[in-house]
């Protein structure tokens, strides 16, 4: 308990540290990390509210902007963008019935129905309160569990890391929606794409075909923006949907006493569920929100109301969602392994700032580690401030026509990609990935697993190589260590469970509500 408080103290110190800064030629001394957190939450909410951009695309788009910032500031801002975008996405889901990303699908179910009945304001408040509570709890969970987990991580050698990554990939596939075989294919394509470039061990340039740009590997930002930014834009413009926006029906923001009573338990349950599921590799916001919805529906006395505006169906998933978003940082911060595509982006950001993710981050950069964790609490506070009073502005934003929006997205993405290394080739590469992404989506693939594979590919190769080097070519090294064996067994178990017909249909049923 004492060390928890000390650690949190270090974190608060890092976040509140006063730094001198130059704005338009005038010098100020401000707690810049708080400012970055605010900007991140603001930008994230802004972009998350706009239909057609989910957290993944938002982070990809703003990633280059954070490169100019100091490491902690950059990461804080990115984290702020992440949960800001999550929350903005909920706003859009409630008011316009458009899920910004998969985890907002559940919010659409009852949230939109509440909006149609003129209870949009109440829905938004419920989501905000639930998310805030969950966020605060999750921050404490991370702070409490990170040190012991990092201890365990020090026991990890190459075979264990490899097995953990296998588990992470399997988890991401199994817990994702859609065809599993196709998701696995995407992961493998991503793994292969990650191998393009110079092989660290031998110095040999692979798949680069004498192109100097490719010798350094595919630009991470190019692949992220191409497949998540450009592809989304192309799909949305082609789709030409007409949206019904319930913006004028927001009269009361405040829930009634009855509402408050009804949302307490779902929020608590959602927070618990989300905190747990977020830590699982491959878990995260999607699984948690679906899981919470199913749970609430099962134990509710008024289950017929679900799908027609039941406040429990909104409070639970929203809390689960936010709790999971935060606890999904745990595998990244303690083991250095991204558990989903968003964390893959975060790891990319960390590596650009020269921070090697892994258990040693906690001891070598305690300011960074604890500062990031504490900033999540700040972020939650800012989200509540940003979202409730300013709801009018966000609502106005929803009425911006897409024909004005998407050129803006293209401009920001293009500038962003170029600015990473002042290289026009990167822009062309992003265009290429836009085509590739479009092709994949049209053929029924989901691009997110590809990004995860892309980030993990080089790491997996390195650990695989090292494990076999240390064991003199003996493959049983992956099975002799208890830790490695158990990780692989869990992965195998997940694969088997998913293949079983009974669970297959349950899974399809859960995702049918999309």
């Amino acid at each position: 308990m004492e060390s928890l408080l000390t650690n949190l103290g270090v974190g608060f110190g890092a976040v509140l540290a006063i730094q001198p800064v130059d704005i338009f030629g005038l010098s100020f001394s401000l707690p810049m990390n708080v400012v970055y957190c605010f900007i991140g939450a603001l930008l994230g909410t802004l972009i998350g509210v706009l239909p057609g951009l989910g957290p993944l695309a938002s982070i990809a788009m703003l990633l280059p902007a954070t490169y100019a910032l100091p490491p902690l500031g950059g990461l804080i801002m990115l984290a702020g963008i992440y949960y800001g975008a999550q929350y903005g996405g909920s706003t859009t889901a409630i008011l316009v019935n458009i899920p910004g990303e998969t985890s907002s699908v559940v919010t659409c179910l009852d949230g939109y129905q509440m909006a149609r009945r003129g209870r949009g304001g109440v829905a938004l408040t419920t989501a905000a309160v639930g998310s805030f509570f969950a966020g605060c709890v999750a921050t404490v969970v991370i702070a409490a569990f990170a040190p012991p987990l990092a201890e365990v991580a020090f026991e990890f050698g190459p075979p264990e890391y490899f097995s953990l990554m296998v588990l992470g990939l399997v988890g991401a596939v199994v817990l994702a929606s859609g065809s599993i075989l196709k998701a696995i294919c995407m992961i493998f394509v991503g793994l292969l794409a990650g191998l393009i470039g110079t092989d660290v061990n031998s110095g040999v340039s692979r798949y680069a075909f004498n192109s100097p740009e490719l010798t350094d590997g595919i630009s991470f930002v190019a692949i992220a923006m191409g497949m998540f930014g450009f592809t989304e834009v192309i799909l949305n413009v082609a789709r030409r949907e007409k949206r019904e926006v319930f913006t004028d029906k927001i009269t009361t923001l405040f829930p009634t006493k009855e509402d408050w009573k009804r949302m307490v338990l779902p929020i608590l349950r959602g927070t618990g569920l989300g905190s747990l599921l977020g830590i699982l590799p491959g878990g995260g916001a999607v699984l948690s929100s679906f899981g919470s919805y199913s749970l609430e529906k099962k134990i509710a006395k008024n289950s017929e109301e679900f799908g027609h505006g039941a406040i429990e169906g909104l409070a639970g998933p929203e809390s689960a969602n936010n709790a999971a978003s935060q606890t999904s940082f745990i595998p990244l911060l303690t083991l250095g392994i991204p558990s989903n595509a968003v964390m893959a982006l975060m790891i990319g950001a960390m590596m650009i700032h020269d921070i090697q993710p892994g258990p040693q981050v906690m001891t070598s950069n305690p300011d960074l580690f604890w500062g990031l964790i504490v900033s999540m609490w700040f972020g939650n506070v800012m989200l509540i401030i940003l979202n409730l009073p300013l709801i009018g502005i966000w609502v106005k934003l929803l009425t911006v026509p897409y024909r004005l929006l998407y050129p803006a997205i293209l401009v920001f993405c293009s500038i962003g990609v170029y600015s990473v290394s002042n290289n026009v080739f990167d822009v062309f590469m992003t265009v290429g990935f836009g085509v590739v992404g479009y092709l994949f989506v049209r053929l029924g693939f989901e691009p997110a697993p590809l990004l995860l594979g892309f980030v993990l590919g080089p790491m997996m190769e390195e650990n695989f190589r090292r494990a076999l080097l240390l064991s003199y070519g003996n493959f049983s090294t992956f099975f002799t260590s208890t830790l490695s064996l158990s990780l692989l067994s869990v992965a195998a178990l997940m694969v088997i469970l998913v293949a079983l017909p009974s669970l297959k249909s349950k899974r399809e049923e859960a995702f049918k509500e999309e």
Binding site: Y406, S414, S419, R465
Partner: protein, 153 residues
């Protein structure tokens, strides 16, 4: 042999191609042994597995139990305009500067929308130019050629 599930069939073919490509070129690099892996080991193995996965996908699409699914028409117009606009941006950035490139990007891209009109596209372009200059050039201090070369020299 009728292709019942066209989408999955061609999806499988694509994956097979990717796998074969990586595995094929992978054999050009030193393979090595398990204990001392060369640069070709991992990619070749992965490539082979990928190709097999693609084969599985395509085979499933051929079976009689497959759902009948065809590939919807590609949106060539939107695809070409949106990606073309960014490509042109890339080509124009150095010679013509940021302002002009943004203008061209926005105009070409906006044309792809079914709700397009010239006036709002131009206003949008100008707004974005101002915004970009404000955020990226003055705010974040990023380096860009701002104006056309022939005007600056």
């Amino acid at each position: 042999m009728r292709i019942k599930n066209q989408k999955d069939f061609w999806a499988g073919v694509l994956i097979i191609v990717v796998g074969v490509f990586f595995a094929g070129i992978g054999t050009e690099y030193k393979f090595g042994t398990a204990a001392r892996m060369g640069p070709g080991y991992f990619p070749t193995v992965l490539g082979v597995i990928t190709a097999l996965l693609g084969l599985l996908l395509a085979a499933q699409a051929l079976s009689s139990k497959a759902k009948s699914e065809s590939i919807e028409q590609f949106d060539w117009f939107v695809l070409l305009l949106v990606l073309g606009s960014v490509t042109v941006f890339g080509l124009l950035l150095r010679p013509m500067g940021l302002a002009f490139s943004i203008l061209v990007l926005v105009c070409i891209a906006s044309f792809a929308s079914h709700e397009f009109n010239w006036k709002s596209a131009l206003i949008n372009a100008i707004a974005l130019i101002v915004l970009s200059f404000g955020i990226f050039v003055y705010g974040l201090n990023l380096q860009f050629p701002l104006w056309p070369k022939f005007l600056v020299n």
